[in-house]
Symmetry: D2
Subunit: 135 residues, 4 copies
């Protein structure tokens, strides 16, 4: 059983830089979100659909390692993998590199609870867990 990998390109926005001349640290978590959004869409069910079906994925933990600078307008590739972490949680693994040189910018992971629209932890339905099973 393999882990589905999917990547997306984005450019560093001016609004994402800070006075150190590189991206501000919290943007990495926003880029991880862009990666998750596209990973889920690619896997067959977008996160917007998940929410409209009453399944939400709030973060319970996040980890980021900062590996290199990225400046305004740099083209970055965000690559995601994902797996069920427990019966009611899922883990997304992220890596951000410069598209041209492949030099690393940041990597890390986020763990998400699977909860209902009311915020209650839930055992995810089969259509959801199957997104994380490949091969």
């Amino acid at each position: 059983m393999k882990t589905l990998e999917h990547s997306v390109l984005l450019r560093v926005r001016y609004s994402e830089t800070d006075q150190m001349g590189t991206f501000y640290n919290s943007r990495a978590l926003e880029w991880f979100e862009v990666g998750r959004t596209e990973w889920l869409r690619h896997s067959g069910v977008s996160y917007a659909q998940c929410e409209s079906l009453g399944l939400l994925l709030p973060l319970v933990e996040a980890h980021v390692r900062y590996q290199g600078r990225a400046r305004y307008d740099d083209l970055l590739r965000v690559t995601m993998r994902a797996k069920m972490e427990s019966k009611a949680s899922v883990k997304f693994m992220a890596s951000v590199v410069h598209e041209g040189t492949q030099s690393p910018v940041a990597d890390g992971w986020t763990i998400h609870a699977v909860v209902s629209a009311e915020g209650k932890p839930m055992r995810p339905p089969a259509w959801f867990t199957e997104l994380f099973q490949h091969g």
Copy 2:
């Protein structure tokens, strides 16, 4: 009849700077929001209370003039005035200056529709319009 004026201090966050070494332009609108929040609290009904009472104030228009730089950790004073703009809209006027020197950073205004929790335009109740009448 006077316009109630109220001000609040804030410090420029590192996350609000950009690689030009001053604050990124969109932060001015976020500081205006901090000013509105404190203006409403000072006037007697917080915006959180407004929302819980089913009255929302989405923006319909915003205007900002950028007047001077503000760097990380600079202490700024955001001063707000407000008035009913029409029977179902309200206008907040904002001014941001350096607390020490009073040198200007930005000023501007926002116009907000008064809408119900369902997003429908509404004639605001008396408890709301009275917040904007002073003296």
Copy 3:
């Protein structure tokens, strides 16, 4: 003489929403920035190149009209036009619509001073003003 028009697609990020369920108001200015970045690249000189050539474009004024909601993951089209506003300033006009329905989300404009790397107002060189002359 025509005004060059250029547009770019983007998706609303979760980080750009707020508890009203639509995008937070200041994000419009960040989307305008994405539009300017791509307009300049399309016109022949990227803004990153402008900065490395010692020409910066800090905002002096911004105006936004909010016309409709946009939710997480909605696909938006940001369309930009631009012109020299005075001998040392430039104006970008922006419009944001839903890509599917063309229903409007926001429009507005920003005026930028042309300044040197040291922040001094400057008469822009020919390679810059020519970007704004078409046809």
Copy 4:
């Protein structure tokens, strides 16, 4: 030898919420930054002073655990402790709770390299390391 602890109050801004009705996950890192800024000021040398003295503290790693919701306008207390992590890095430990109930919102830590204005790793001078030694 004790670790200096310092805390600061802040209110959740509307711009920090997302459509789930709580704060967007990356804001926790921005609040940690507010905590670091005030911890350093309280310890005797502000981070703005550090930067002007040629000592920068870029992040190399960040970790966040999300423990509870925080809504717009909630009053939060960010408490920080810090220590030298190695000869050329420093660790800040953060905890965010609701000021009224003390119920937890998030905790975590960040590790920062000590680098020169040119971005080179450096052995920090005594005036810096002494900030982290108490009692």
